[in-house]
Amino acid sequence: MKRTALVFMVLVFCCAVLFASGGKEAAAASGKLKVALLLSGPANDQGWNAVAFEGLKAAEAKYGLETAYTEYVGIADGEAAFTDYASQGFDLVIGHGFQFGDPAVRVSAKFPKTNFMAIESSVYSKNAASYVMACEEAAYLMGILSASMSKTGKIGMVGGFEQPSIIKVVEAYKLGAKLVNPNITVYEVYISSFTDVALGKEAAISMADRGADVLSHVANQAGTGVIKAAEERGLLATGDSYDQNFIAPNTVIGSTIYSVPMLVLNAVEKVKNNNFVGGVFFLGMKEGVIDISGYNSFESKIPEATKKLIADTKASILNGSFTVPLIETRSGK
């Protein structure tokens, strides 16, 4: 009897925890447009996934949607997650990341009435689109900023996985840095993780040990470790995805801003107006999707010439007279 009671208690506890922490929020049936979001990590990673989640919530508020989301969708689970939402009758299912492209296309053939969207991917079908953010535009400006603020002539860049959507940022960053200082050394490390903050921090420390004094990242959650390492060593850092100055106010000189909310709103609007089509769409500064943050407390510490160079470059990207090269394979030094 005692054992039965114990088992029962454990079961109740497990159920409570499961329901409480479940990332999947079921939407109640009604006539509203239903949009689901798949995330590769936690929604509160203070980075890549956080901005997508914000986008979903913004769209929910603006269009009165029913939304649902799933966190920690691994590469192998993408197809199942898309199928899941599509068969539940969702109108738009968004996969937030390069790796969701192929699963979206595969599932889209089976569910012609559902619209699929992969952010940062490169494949499409009739009802599956890839929305690519021109992250390299902002990364180029971060390269200029970092190189200008470096006293040692050495800066570092920590990338997540070595995949096209990350490589293009790293390469544009290097080009921007070289524009200011052709002799600059840019250390680059790909840590093969978007979540291992401790590894991100170690990678940054290894760069600091070699004399780098401005550290940047495109590593989502793991990148927070990079910023923390810079703060601890009294160095400078740049943020990624959104204004990360909050993390370390006296360290982060500027951040790239990828306005995923704009991207999500854009897609939802198309679904609402029934003109969502497949294809690969590039959205950048001109479309208001890519931007860079203000300089916060560094406003007065960054040389006027640097600020002007960045503003000018941004202006020429906006008016189309300059295009940041899109390099998706890793170059050497």
Binding site: Q46, A50, E54, V189, S192, E202, A203, I205, K228, F246
Partner: protein, 312 residues
């Protein structure tokens, strides 16, 4: 040797030790548990719980010592759940450990979300600074790596020495081994099998929680979902690699730590090899070392087998 090389070597060794410390602490805990015959693969859960509760405590009180205690308590809570379910309810120990890994990942993420909300602002705490040991820390290369570290590193070294005495030179050590090798004989000899196993599980939780607390209190200064990112599983590997010998566990942790520290440094130096190859490095080392230990299984005979006094 020229100066940059010495500097690189020094920072490499320091990084190795930084990475090895949490693995050593958690590995030592698991060693105690396995010696008593309880295999708990929920080390990841223990570390994550330790990390979470130490962060929460330091965030609220600002006291790092309390944070350490809370981390150890957090780890112990998880290992005691494992102990009760596997010793009292005689459940499959591996499955319980596995379940705990997922349960605690969800639970800590949920509690973190409830405490701090869905935010883009990162709550953080001050980290514990390294302690410089005078004179010794001025030894070239090794000095900075060994004697300019934080309190946890010294604690880990002390634990390795202490446990190797405890395991092999004391009566308690013999009892621990007896319970893991032949619980019936131990019972006949008057040892309380389950009590010793509960104590071993408790030690496992305390040390694993300490390992998790190290990540938060020393290395990072903040908490995030899935902060341990698989370190608990690597700690399990160090136990096997180190053949459940405290020195062996520390050695294995250092090998894994060195492999990780090396792969980052090789990349920073701009060696033109794909990053994926570097990331495999620690695991390749693990497999190679395991290959060399073929045929020398030293598992305690009663590992994973609950003791039932009234059965034979």
């Amino acid at each position: 040797m020229d100066v940059p090389l010495i500097a690189t070597l020094t920072t490499f060794l320091a990084a190795t030790i930084r990475m090895a410390t949490p693995l050593t602490l958690a590995g030592l805990g698991e060693t105690i548990s396995e010696k008593s015959g309880v295999i708990n693969i929920g080390v990841e859960a223990i570390m994550l719980s330790g990390a979470f509760f130490s962060f929460l405590t330091v965030f609220a009180t600002g006291n790092h010592f309390l944070g350490l205690l809370a981390g150890m308590a957090g780890g112990a809570a998880v290992s005691m759940v494992h102990a009760v379910v596997s010793l009292r309810c005689k459940a499959n120990q591996t499955i319980v450990g596995l379940a705990l890994n997922f349960l605690i990942l969800g639970l800590t993420s949920f509690l973190f979300l409830k405490s701090f909300g869905q935010t883009t602002i990162l709550p953080s705490i001050a980290v514990i600074k390294p302690i410089q040991i005078p004179i010794l820390s001025r030894i070239p290369i090794l000095g900075q790596a060994l004697f300019h570290q934080d309190i946890f590193v010294y604690l880990a070294i002390a634990l390795v020495i202490g446990l190797s005495v405890f395991f092999y030179k004391t009566e308690w050590g013999v009892s621990l081994h007896a319970v893991g090798e032949h619980p019936r004989a131990a019972d006949t000899a008057g040892l309380q099998v389950d009590t010793i196993r509960y104590l071993a599980c408790l030690a496992n939780g305390l040390l694993g929680g300490m390992g998790g607390a190290y990540l938060v209190l020393v290395k990072l200064g903040f908490f995030m979902e899935n902060l341990t990112a698989g370190k608990g599983y690597i700690a399990l590997v160090t136990v096997i690699l180190g053949r459940r010998n405290p020195w062996g566990v520390m050695g294995a942790a250092l090998v894994v730590g060195a492999a990780e520290a090396l792969q980052i440094r090789l990349q920073t130096m701009g060696i033109p090899i794909p990053s994926q190859v570097f990331s495999m490095f620690p695991y390749v080392v693990t497999i190679v070392v395991l290959l060399f230990s073929i045929g020398k299984s030293s598992d305690p005979s009663a590992l994973g087998v609950p003791y039932e006094r009234d059965k034979r």
